[in-house]
Assembly symmetry: C2
Homo-oligomer: 380 residues x 2
């Protein structure tokens, strides 16, 4: 098996954006890179060949969901997540932290006393949303589950602090996350074929975000991830949180992943701060809702930072025999018209979701390709 | 464009089963053949490449549905159904008769006075189940719509008589169907790139079935179709209806299509009566319900007339890492385990329906391949 590596080739002159390559046993990832979400071991509506068709570089799967179904022992017996799903691009699994703390959030009026979920020094006790069975996630359990899943990259178990947490609770939570990071790191040492990312937390507080970035960066993680960003309620809060973390991290030579962000305009700003990879459900979710990306042109020139979105359900597309985007070379645009897609969506035909997803992902990948080229040219 | 032709190569010594080839501009169909249903211009969950993957020989689309969405003018402007959908195998469209009379059925307690649907000498007036708009199907309208759809084969507009119709009503209905068949044939003369099938009706009465077969066969249709069979409430009724028709038709040199039948065991019997092609939703519908076909073996020998069906939702498959059918060479069985399919179905992941459909169709096509081989060997 080839080794893992990360190299940075170029840095933009106009921002902290950087152009790199992550090498893995399942191939290279050119960064900045978009990571497509395949929560339950499938990118909704696509198969592994469709991923290649859309130039997907990496897939993100969720440990919480995979523990509940099909179960990590089944995945391990099935030869790991790559073999079970036939996904042949690199895969990263998260720790389950975000999901179990999301369960807690809905349940928690008083920060210290959640009912469905019990947070202890050791980990998190919760009930499955599927069958009500009790599960316990600890740093060691999460790492073990992730090693059974067998993704190329794994992530430390962290507490994703809820929005509006007090300074006191945020500090306590951050310290717990740091301790869990160390325990995750120790537990992961057994697994040489997987590389681990440490997760930075610190809530909405600048001092904790900086402290967390410094602490996590001081440990021997292969990569670094910024967590708890999507918890922010405004775009400004989200950007601040990333900015505070990246002020510490932007010179780090390890790949930096941003967990669960965001809209395309968010991604642009965060690439400028030096973030290398992003997982995000937005392009696939919007595709399934019939919201399809098209290039935006101004004075005949493509504005590569901008794009429009069409709602394919609209009656104006009923007779529109042109593809979604005439300049797009994806499988969907090369073969099918908006009229056919409109018909498939209106009739709830399953093919609709797949063709739309192939297009939106191809579009996003093309966008990232152009971003990478612009960084190489020093223009980003 | 190559011409259309039908040639019969072999007849079974043990039954009226016959082995033939239909040639069309979109390729050859080896008969007896299964025709996969793609009602709205899409085989539910599959794209055109998946059809090739499952060795599909012909697709059946429904004029009633296509008139309502996307509309036959859109299809025509889009270059016809092949170009709009990118389906590259031969296509047959039905006349819409079955659907408009199904609308009538639910509405009709008294045979002569349906309310939502009005049947006249000229045709059928009804309201769209989608938007309530009024539509009128006449023989001429159906043929015109079908010529806009542009399938390789089209079908005459007929009345599909409801179950339990009196002798008097059945006779009247049959005569109307015969008149409409002649009007359909006249209307179709304009379209040389399409070939037309005449539809035999006659309800549940032997004398009318024979009379209808004789009358329709006397006209210059390119092919013959038996309609109204699925209306029968028992398997015996269904078989009788086909038998009475086939007693007249089995020596006819034109291809004989059976409309909307049925389960695999039905198909076996009807091939023995000399039927050449069958359209049927069963394998694709069952696939989407998680009911997957597997070969049946007795004393280590494959029983090619039998098959088992598994329910992939069952808990016994949660940890079953074997493919659906270890001897199957379909895309699904070559790549995925029952455990993964069970997980996808339980989690309602869209990929589930596609992988299951690919398997069931591949399975049915293999079954037909074996039937054809057995006819060639004189053993069917």
């Amino acid at each position: 098996m080839p080794n893992f590596s990360f190299s940075i080739h170029t840095k933009s002159k106009k921002s902290d954006a950087r152009r790199g390559t992550i090498t893995t046993p399942y191939g290279k990832i050119e960064t900045p890179a978009f990571v497509t979400v395949g929560t339950k071991g499938t990118v909704k509506s696509l198969d592994a060949q469709d991923l290649t068709r859309s130039n997907i570089q990496m897939i993100f799967v969720n440990t919480y969901h995979l523990v509940l179904s099909p179960g990590v022992d089944v995945i391990q017996k099935g030869g790991g997540i790559h073999n079970l799903t036939k996904i042949q691009v690199p895969i990263i699994s998260d720790s389950g932290g975000f999901q179990v703390f999301s369960l807690a959030k809905s349940d928690r009026k008083n920060e210290e006393s959640p009912k469905l979920v019990k947070i202890t020094h050791d980990g998190v006790l919760f009930r499955s949303h599927i069958d009500g069975k009790q599960h316990e996630f600890t740093p060691e359990y999460s790492i073990k589950a992730q090693s059974k899943i067998g993704a190329d990259f794994i992530v430390t178990f962290d507490e994703c602090v809820y929005y509006g947490a007090t300074e006191k609770y945020t500090e306590k939570s951050m310290q717990r996350t740091h301790e869990w990071a160390q325990r995750s790191l120790r537990a992961s040492r057994l697994k040489h074929q997987q590389k681990i990312f440490g997760v930075i937390q610190g809530g909405m507080y600048k001092k904790f975000r900086r402290a967390s970035a410094e602490f996590i960066a001081s440990l021997s993680f292969w990569g670094l991830a910024i967590g708890g960003v999507s918890v922010g309620e405004t775009k400004k809060e989200m950007r601040d949180v990333v900015k505070w973390s990246m002020e510490v991290l932007h010179k780090d030579k390890r790949p930096i992943h941003l967990l669960g962000v965001g809209y395309v305009d968010d991604i642009f700003d965060m690439i400028k701060m030096g973030v290398d990879t992003f997982d995000c459900v937005v392009p696939t979710r919007q595709a399934r809702l019939g919201r399809l990306y098209v290039q935006k042109f101004e004075n005949g020139k493509m504005k590569f930072e901008n794009y429009n979105m069409i709602d394919i359900y609209k009656t104006i597309f009923k007779r529109d025999l042109k593809p979604i985007d005439e300049r797009c070379e994806c499988y969907t645009c090369k073969n099918f018209s908006k009229a056919y897609l409109h018909h498939l969506f209106k009739q709830r035909e399953l093919l609709a979701y797949r063709l739309a997803t192939i297009h939106n992902l191809y579009f996003i990948e093309k966008l990232f390709e152009r971003i990478r080229r612009n960084i190489e040219l020093g223009n980003f």
